[in-house]
Symmetry: C2
Subunit: 121 residues, 2 copies
């Protein structure tokens, strides 16, 4: 039970598209990530995913539309919904994610960015 | 799948110590609350609770210590851990909470502030 300062945690890593775990609750991880550019189309069969944008603007493309999420905004992506995250204006986005421990961040898509083991910071 | 602006949601209510639901994921609610003053000692038998402070400073008293949480900081209170939230300097605190749908915000303590039904905004 210790307060976690998000800015201090963001200083601990520089790699992009690699979520880092900072806490857990109710069988989920709370993760931080830095993003720039475009990810891959994917979905999660069983897991809803929460995106909390802390810096920059995240664009979430769906098969039927687009949402933008800036600082002070959140977006829930429900299970089974295909999505493609990318960043706006070539600016780095800082993000807090909350999602079940079981999730793979590229869904069933096998990709060079696929992360097999949770990285705690 | 629609972006939620937290400031706009905070404009929709003024009552304090009453969490308002803005989204759900993985059998949990994402809630916003405005706090001022002191709550009641309580714990949650089965639910971990996430506090994300957006404005003001929250003081979380535990039986064996105290944590302060300001904007840009988070705190997880694990199940079964007694806690007493209160605010600092008599300033209103704005908070995002994530917790299982099953939770009662006063735990097993019956209190005038106990909320029986989730209030969506």
């Amino acid at each position: 039970m210790k307060t976690i300062n998000l800015a201090e945690k963001f200083e601990k890593f520089t790699d992009q598209w690699t979520p880092h775990v900072i806490a857990e609750l109710n069988d989920q991880y709370i993760k931080l990530a830095k993003l720039k550019g475009e990810f891959v189309w994917h979905d999660h069969a069983n897991e809803d995913e929460l995106f909390v944008v802390l810096k920059g603007t995240l664009i979430m493309e769906f098969r039927d539309g687009i949402q933008e999420i800036g600082p002070g905004e959140i977006l829930v992506v429900p299970k089974k919904v295909e999505h493609l995250p990318r960043t706006k204006n070539n600016e780095e986005v800082h993000l807090m994610l909350i999602e079940p421990k079981s999730i793979k961040h590229t869904g069933k898509v096998k990709h060079e960015l696929t992360q097999e083991v949770a990285k705690w910071i």
